[in-house]
Structures are given as C-alpha cells and as structure tokens.
Amino acid sequence: MTEYRHIGKVRRRQDGRAIVTGKAIYCDDIKIKDVHYAKVLHSPYPHAQIISIDTSAAEALPGVKGVMTYKNAPAWKTGVPFHRPVMDRHVRYTGDPVAAVAAVSPEIAEEALDLIKVEYEQLPAVYDVEDAILPGAPEVYREEDNIESKGYRYENNCLPPGSWFEGDDPPFYRIQEGDVEKGFAESDVIVEGKVSYDKPTFPGAPESPFIAARWEDDTHITVWAPSQGPNMVARPLAATIGAHIFTTTPNVGGSYGNKDALGYTAMLIVALSKVTRCTVKYAMTKEEHLLVYERRLSNKFIGKIGITRDGHMKALQGDWLVSTGISSELTQGQVAEGLGELNLVLNKNPNWDITAKVVVSNITPVGIARGFGGQELKACALHLLNRALKQIDMDPVTFFKKNFCQAGDQYYWRTGHKYSNPVINYDKCFDVAAEKFGWYKKWKGWGVPSRVEGSKAYGVGFSIHSSGDPQSDETFAYVRLENDQVIVHCVVSEFGNGQRLALAKTAAEILNIPVENVTVAPADNGITPADFGAAGSRETITAGGAVGQAAMAAKKKLLEEAAVKMGCAPDELDTRDLVVFKKEDPSVSLPWMAICPMYYSITGQGMVEGDFNHNNCVMNFVEVEVDLDTGVAKIVDALGASDVGQIINPIELKMQFEGGLGSAGMDTAHLEEYVLDTNIGRFMTHNLIDYKWRTFNNLPSFDTSILESRFPTANPFGAIGIGEITGAGGPPAVMMAIENAIGGAQIDEYPANPARILKALGKA
C-alpha cells in the first residue's frame, strides 16, 4: 500500500485554535453594518384563515423599519414543487409566519410584534398522516394554490410526486418490478403489518438557523447563512426571484443536513430585506428552531414481506406514507433516495411493489436531514422484516449479507434509473465487523436476551445502510500557487466533519508540502466555483476529487514553468517542500519563489462529474440494556463499521461514526421525540429542557471497524465518504436490540420510550 505524507495521518484542523479560544466566527458573531433585527410573529393556531391584520401600531413604533405580512410580501414560493409562499392569509401550522418586523434592536422588533392585531378564523386541523388522506380531511392546500408538477396535481393532502432529482424523467416514487404475487407464492414465510416512525424528531444543531440579507442593488444580494452548501442557499432562490445571490458562510455551528439549504428561511429574510429596504438579520431563538424550523421526515410503512426459509427475499409490497408537515423542502427527493436505500439493502429481492405518498398536514414542515428518507423508511420496513427472520430463525447479519447489493448488482437511485458499481463490495466488512463486535457470541436468537442481570436485560441488534450519493453531482475547484502559499478554492463549509482539513491535506499531499502552507478560501460562492454542497457524504469524492485534480493541474504547470527556467523537460522534474528538483539529481533545484514570485499565480482547475455508481455502506451493531422495572432503554455498546476505501482524517472519521448516535440518528429509536398536543396543535417539547439530547453521563462504549480497500472513485486516494449515514441504520438496530432484550415482545411504534416498553411487557 502507498504510504502517504498527510492522507490518513492525524493533522490538526486549521480552525482548531480559533475554536478552542473562542475566536472562531459563526454567523451571529459577525458585525454587519447598519443591520436591522428581524422578529417573526407566528400563528398561534394549527390551521386558520386571517380575517384581518393591522400592523399600523407596529409600524408607528420608533425604531421599526418596516413590517411584512401576506399583503406586501413578494409573491415568491419555495418547496418541491413550488408551493410554500413567503406568507399567506391561510396559515397552516402553529408557528406559520404571519408577520415579520425589521427594527433597530431585537427588543423593539419584539415589542412591535405585540402591537400587531390579527383576527383569525380557526379551521379544523389534521396531524396524522393516515387521517390526512381520508376523504373529507381538512385540506392543507386548496385548488387555487395550483400545486402541480409533471402532470400530477396536489390532491387530498398529497403533494405531487417527484423533484428535480429526476430531471425531465417521470417522478420516482414507487418501485414496481417483478411479480409480488408470484413472490409471495414462492415465500415460506410472509409477514404483514404497520410500523410507525411517525413521532416527529428534531435533527437540529446547537447553532439555530440564521440568515442575514442585504440587497446591494436591484439584482445583487449578499446573504450570510450557516449552511452546508452555500450554493444550495443561493441558486434556487436566485432563480426564483431573478437576482444574483452571494452567500457567505463562516463556521457552521452544526447542521446534520438540516441547515443544508435553509430554503424557506432564506426566502423569508431576503423578502423582508426587500420590503423594508434595509439590511436584516434573523437569528432564530431555540424555541423557534424547535417549533417552526424544518424537522426530520416522519413516516409509516404498511406492508407485506415474503422470504424463503433459507433467507432469500422474495417479495416486498407496501404503502409508504410520508408526513411532510405543511411543506416539502425536498421530501420527494428523500422518497426517491429512501426507495434507493431500501433497494440497496434488500437488493436480491426480485419482486417489488412499494408506493410512496408525500402527505401534508398541520404540523411543522419537513426539511433536509441526515438519513434523508432511507433512515425513516428502513426504520419501519426492516423492523417489519424482523418478524419474518424470527420465523426462519436466521440472524440479521447472515440475512443482510445474503441480500445486500454486491459489486456488479444493480440498484435504483434518485432518478428512478438503475445504477451499478462493478468493484465495491462490502462482504468482508460484514465478517470483520461482526467479529470485532462479538456478534455471534452475543446473538442468542430472536427474542432472546444476550444476558439478564437482575432487572436489567440486554439484547443486541444490527442494521445496515447504503446510499448512491457519494459521487453525486458536480464539484468544481481551483488551486492557486503563489510564492510559498497554496490557496484552495472549493465552496466547502466547515460544520464539524473536517472536510476543509481533508481538502488542505489533499492539496498538500499532491504538491508534497506541509499542510500549513495550504489555505482553504472561505466558503463563499462569490469567490469559489460551483458545487452542490455537502450532502449525501459526497464531498470526500467530489470536492476531494476536484481539489485533487486542480492541485495536479497546478503542479503540472509549475513543473512546466520550472522546466523552461531550468532548461530541461517537465517530466524530468518533481517537487517537494516548495522546491522543484531534478529527479535524477535533486541537487539541481529551484525554489517555488523563483518560479511563482511575488504577484504571480499558477492556477490549476479541477472538476468531478457526478454519477450514482458508487454506493457507500455503514453497518450499525448495538447492544442495549433495558430496565425491566422502569422500561428505560440505554445503548450500552455500539460499533459502527464501513469500508471507506482510504481513511483521510482518522480522528474525524471516528467522530463521524460516534455522531451517528445524536442529531436524530440512532437516538430516535428510544430517546428523542416531539410531543404534539393535538388539542392545541403544538409541539410541547419546544425547548432544550423538554427536548433532551444525549448527555455526557449517558454514553455507551463505542467502537469502529474500518476497512480500507482503495476504491476506484474520483477521490485521488480511493476514498469514499460515509459521514451522512453513520447513524442512518441505527434506529432499526436499536429497536431490534430492545425487542430481543425484553424477550421478543413487539413494539411497532418508535421511539421505544419507557411507556411503550412497559406496555409491550404488559406492565402498563
């Protein structure tokens, strides 16, 4: 194996010192000249029509710059397809923006909200995804909202299927393949049922969403956004409103996919800035973040699965009911990828008939989050499958190894077409990881605890996740060599995963220099070329590949220019530590400073073309402890496993695996849920006292099993990214472990909180 200078080695993050000294800049730390503060009046009702709204007293309050309501808001819309207006007379959930104020201080803006008089006519509300599609259910949108895409219209609270993922092709919202009736006839065991992962959860970060906007002139806007993808903030909105948007993204205080696009919030604040003709910043409070900001998708799966006695999938049929709240930021895209992710893990199944519905209801909208459809669908569908595996008495590791997509197999991905990777295989990963976790020692059979100590029962669970996104979509980059400095331009923001360090290492490795000589330019789409953003674990390959190519191109030019000066051919030369030298006689050399002196740039460009033929994979092994008296379940041991091709950042990679616990990953199985009061249509757990996150004194032991098979990806070192999916397979693994710990009593509703566990045990 090649030994690298930086790749795979521990290097300090370049922003590390700033982080530990408090000097690191996050959006709300920036002083923006002449900024006004936005505050938003939210609907107190889950569903209502505004009868009248009077903002005159608020507008008259000294210090108030302006007020926006549905009356003066621009007629822009966001969502898939466009359906969510900036503001509307028809308010659709508790928290829907009714008015926004810009004022010279947050206190005055807040006071102005109290002066706005609104008269509402309350309307009946609907929350549950099954209730919402019943005939006669309250309609969240109406005929006149004119929601349409590719010939499909909004109907009975169902949004049209499909998103821009399919391009001009038909929407991908179902898999119909083979003959399920034939498949069931060939099955030895058939299970049917409904599993719900429909209690909404909060994937949010410690740093609440933030947007600041300034109209430079009628067609140029500067936006400050803590985003994973500055272009995802800028491009769709710019196209909608016909202006150029430059997004500036400093350090991001956590995202987990959830602050990827900031679609609605960015539109709201750009609109407020336009209406009030001032620079506006909106720093959401944590209460707003929990109550009104885009949450994780929730869903139910009602289906039927058939398998043979020797563990082969024969048929899968079902309805996937997806709750998107009042709107979809990209829910249909999550449906497409969720179907692909189920298809990857049950890849050997020949017979499919599964159809998704994206259903609106009067609860908080759904946005982007790690796991992105597959986590939620598989939490349900794979849990139902367990019933069948129990009947054939086959352990899940053995079963999934038989049925998982292998090199050369075809799988569906987000366009609705099939893709295939000819090389990447995870067979070995199953064996190595199972051995490291001690799976076969701990596994005692379905519904059998691995051990019982007094009132504490222990059980193990397993699950697996795979995504076709790691090389998705295009990324462009360029690398400049100036004197002794290398500057990387690739619009990758830092939200915790160390990707900017990976890019610095990539350039340093190829140019054979210390990492300290590399600067990664700010994640600002005004100074860096296009990139889709950090989604689907793609940037290890796409940004890494584009920066790698750019560094190689810059090196080639450097050697060419050096060759002229040194009177030899470029291929006789190499470079190390900022010196170009003759390979045959390194004493013949020229420092970079002599080739690219002051005020001189050597620039290389790179680009990776997206495809879906590189699927990643993460396996989650967990052991839980259940207190049989109190019903409290805890993960006590966990192991995350993958083959990542090549490790780039060892510590950061380990931490990505550990991060699969929180941010609505594994912990959605048993710890996290919003509690909805259906009498008032409001989440009751809208602060961090009531919506608890995992704490320091509640940690399992955690291990990883990581292989490095050097995959033929566009990453220059053969790496494949896995950051997004480290917890995506977690929920069904935890649920499986809990059921085994409690002797096989069934729980078909997430999360397995103490009440549900005690009920399953017949104790409540």
Binding site: T21, N251, T285, G496, M655, L688, L699
Partner: protein
Amino acid sequence: MSRDLTLHINGDTYEFTIGRRLGQIPESETLLETLRERIGLTGSKMSCGQGACGCCAVLMDGKAVASCITLTAECQGKEIVTIEGLGNPETGELDPIQEAFLEHNAFQCGFCTPGIIIAVKSLLNANPNPTEAEIKEALSGNYCRCISHFQVIEAVKSILKGGEAG
C-alpha cells in the same frame, strides 16, 4: 434612577451604569448579551437561552455559570472569565485544557466547545483530580449535538495524567 456597575472580565475592568437610557445596561440584560453585544466577546454562544445546554458558560469567581440566564446587573464586583480569557494574553499561551482539546481534536462544529472548556475549567478548579464518572457528571449540563463527548473525555483525562495530581 441609574447606578454604577463595575465588571471584571478577563482581567479588564469595565465601568457601566444601569438604567434605561441609550447606552446604559437595562436591568433585564443578560451577561451573555453584555459580553457579546457590548464588549464584543463572541466566544460565548447563545443556544438554548434557558441554561440547559451550556454553550454560554463563563466562569464567575472560578465557577461555571450560564451567562444566558445571568443578569449583568447582578455581576457587580464578580471576576468573570470567558473562553477568550483562559489563555495568557501576554504570551498567547493556551490553557492546558485548550491545548488538550486541540491535541485530541475534541470538537467537531465547535459551537459548544467554549462552554465545555469553561465547564472543565470549573470542574478542575473545584476538583483537580476527578474520576471519569465525575468528569461526565460535571459535563452533563453541556450538550454536544455532534457527539464529540468521547474525545472530550480523552482530552480531559490526558491533562490529569500529565498533571501533579496524576
């Protein structure tokens, strides 16, 4: 009515008056607002606003407090140290806790990191040689959504081993 207020922050003394006029500190202003908006010390972060998450933690007379629920008007005469004040301002030398966090990469997004470092400092001020269980308990009021907990614990343990209390 206005009254004087003297704050000692990171070794500097700040003279304010409390009142409702322009430039004065209103009684309702939190210490976090004063630090971030008036003094420009943005290392302490606003997150939950309820003292539940620890992102805004600062040392007050050596002990960690949630500055988002502490009123500035009540800080008369207190010694306040923020994340910016932990290192040596003359030499730029970091506090050993900060060095250990760097050495162990004990952060991901870094938003909660200042508060966690302050909580560790508070713990070590009171108990220079805590057990692992005591470290976890002392940090149980600091949320970290990225799950950097494991590296944080390693970082804290590393200074105990190296220290006199070893």
